[in-house]
């Protein structure tokens, strides 16, 4: 087994990001997320429309309901492809105080 290229064997790269679009055409609850430290804040280099669609990881007790995410929510997740960072998965929402 090549541990650098085997899902789960190495490089669990977790991240925190901000939801910028929740209108998922596939209707499975994906969101476009700008991930801090991985995606630049410079929207001319990386417009919101180009951000990857992060796949939701749902609770096994309630797997058919879509998460009530909103744009501006901070979410935590991981990359399925480790440091390549092209396939983000969202694990949960980080609640915060109102601004």
């Amino acid at each position: 087994m090549d541990q650098d290229n085997f899902l789960g064997a190495k490089a669990f790269v977790w991240w925190v990001g901000e939801v910028v679009n929740i209108a998922d055409p596939t209707a499975i609850g994906r969101c476009q997320v700008r991930i801090f430290g991985h995606h630049t804040d410079n929207e001319s280099l990386l417009p919101n429309s180009d951000l990857p669609w992060a796949h939701p990881m749902k609770s096994i007790n309630n797997s058919t309901a879509n998460s009530p995410l909103e744009e501006g929510n901070w979410v935590v997740g991981f990359f399925m492809d480790g440091h390549s960072g092209q396939f983000p998965i969202m694990m949960g929402v980080l609640p915060g105080l109102k601004q």
């Binding site: 991985h38 492809d81 960072g85 092209q86």
Partner: protein
């Protein structure tokens, strides 16, 4: 490019290791801007490596005037080096580097002089270490993305800068550069890239053998397959003087082509090759959107039949194991492959019936990254490219650089023939090689070049076996008797 040095073009050479070191100039903020270091040089080392994005080097200096303080050297200087072989036809290596450290500083016992090493590299390497890039590219070929990175972020390939040679790649990708350093980003992209003109690999596409490197000509983004297609620029020999009795002194032209030293770095290593997935490897890819699992097997035999190799004959024979399997076969049904990878895939997501019905949905699906093609092929191809590696020390040759192909002839092991005949070449060490690393070493008295050469194939097939023969089966049954 290296030329075939004729005796006439070697007219200015007295010895094979002669050289012309025009200058080593240090550009610094103090000491009138520039200092000539040629007379203080003990040894100059210049390195290129086909697996490294930058040229680097070391200059060992013997200093009796306290230059480090006098010139206010602090590791940010520029160093210009100009050297070549003495003969007129040789290429001049003339490059400006950035100093990045001073090491190995030692003081003489009487405090009259000090020795130290000035380490230098191409300036692009420092820039690459200084900055990270995060940018999106939609529906772009990887070769276009790499050309854009080189132009936009490294400022090379533009007017007045170093040259850039980018081989075209197939497929259009949606990538978000993941905030890696610049050369890390290019190397990361290289792993996905499949050359337009490469030979067939496993599956339905080409291999994935793109390399990014710098040599004296500039920056290169090339496939191994395209390097293999080049003509050899030079013939080199390893012809020790003591195995040809009564031989006259070798002339200068022959000395230039004759290796002074020959070392084997990698040779027959079937266990190592199996571990690396050279002959066979398996990829499990998971598509979480389509909920699809795909298994892809790489087969060295399929690749070798369809791809381009340096010498035409494979590095192994047709021996089968006790499961009636060749080295390159997929594992038996009841076992898994020894070299196994598992990654995320988005293969053909845009062709899913549910997605095709909705144009909005298609726009939210990223282009295929072809993991089922690039990973199994690249694993096999890169390992195979280094199957046989040798190191040669030759009289200095500034015409050679990494990425070029040369022919090498080593003599086989056999009894010394009579004085009139020559020994036969070794069919497995001799052949066409790619220069994967080069080191030019200039001292006060000589110039030598150390080459690391690699090849993926042999000039002659190994003997095969008749796997169906019962006598053979009995001999290799693996029992204790």
């Amino acid at each position: 490019m290296a030329s075939n040095n004729s005796a006439a073009s070697n007219a200015q050479l007295k010895y094979a290791t002669d050289y012309d070191l025009t200058s080593i100039v240090l550009f610094t903020a103090a000491a009138n801007d520039s200092i000539e270091l040629k007379d203080k040089m003990v040894e100059l080392n210049y390195f290129e490596d086909v697996y490294s994005p930058s040229i680097s080097g070391k200059l060992v200096v013997s200093d009796a005037i306290g230059l480090l303080n006098l010139a206010s050297i602090n590791g940010t200087e520029f160093l210009k080096i100009i050297f070549r072989k003495t003969n007129d036809s040789s290429i001049t290596i003339s490059r400006t580097f950035r100093v990045f450290s001073v090491t190995d500083k030692t003081l003489s016992i009487n405090n009259n002089f000090e020795n130290y090493t000035i380490n230098f590299c191409s300036e692009e390497f420092l820039i690459s270490q200084q900055y990270r890039i995060s940018k999106s590219y939609k529906n772009k070929e990887i070769s276009d993305i790499i050309a854009d990175i080189l132009n936009t972020f490294l400022k090379v390939g533009v007017s007045g800068s170093k040259s850039v040679y980018v081989e075209s790649t197939r497929g259009k990708y949606d990538f978000i550069l993941p905030n890696k350093k610049i050369f890390e980003t290019i190397n990361w992209l290289s792993t996905y890239a499949q050359p337009t003109s490469g030979g067939s690999g496993t599956g339905n596409g080409t291999g994935a053998d793109m390399l990014f490197y710098e040599n004296v000509q500039g920056y290169h983004f090339n496939s191994l397959q395209s390097l293999y297609k080049q003509n050899s620029v030079m013939n080199l020999y390893y012809n020790p003087k003591n195995i040809r009795p009564n031989q006259k002194l070798i002339d200068l032209d022959s000395q230039l082509r004759n290796a002074m030293k020959f070392e084997v770095l990698n040779y027959i290593d079937t266990l190592g090759a199996i571990s690396k997935g050279t002959f066979s490897n398996r990829l499990i890819s998971l598509d979480i959107l389509a909920k699809k699992k795909t298994v892809t097997d790489y087969n060295y035999n399929d690749y070798f039949k369809n791809g381009k190799s340096l010498n035409g004959s494979p590095v192994t024979n047709n021996y089968k194991n006790r499961y009636d399997k060749y080295l390159f076969d997929a594992p038996p049904q009841n076992m898994e492959a020894g070299t196994l990878r598992m990654v995320t895939s988005n293969s053909k997501q845009k062709e899913l019936p549910y997605v095709k019905q909705n144009s909005d949905m298609i726009n939210s699906i990223a282009n295929d990254i072809f993991v089922e093609n690039y990973i199994p092929n690249r694993v096999g191809q890169i390992a195979l490219a280094n199957y046989t590696r040798i190191k040669l020390t030759i009289p200095g040759n500034s015409d050679l650089c990494v990425g070029l192909a040369i022919n090498f002839m080593a003599l086989g092991i056999s009894a010394i023939p009579d004085s009139k005949s020559k020994k036969d070449p070794d069919p497995y060490f001799s052949g066409k090689y790619i220069i994967t690393a080069i080191r030019h070493i200039i001292t006060n008295i000589s110039y030598i070049t150390v080459l690391e050469l690699a090849k993926d194939s042999n000039t002659q097939n190994y003997s095969g076996v008749n796997n169906a023969d019962n006598n053979w089966k009995a001999k290799v049954a693996g029992g204790q008797s």
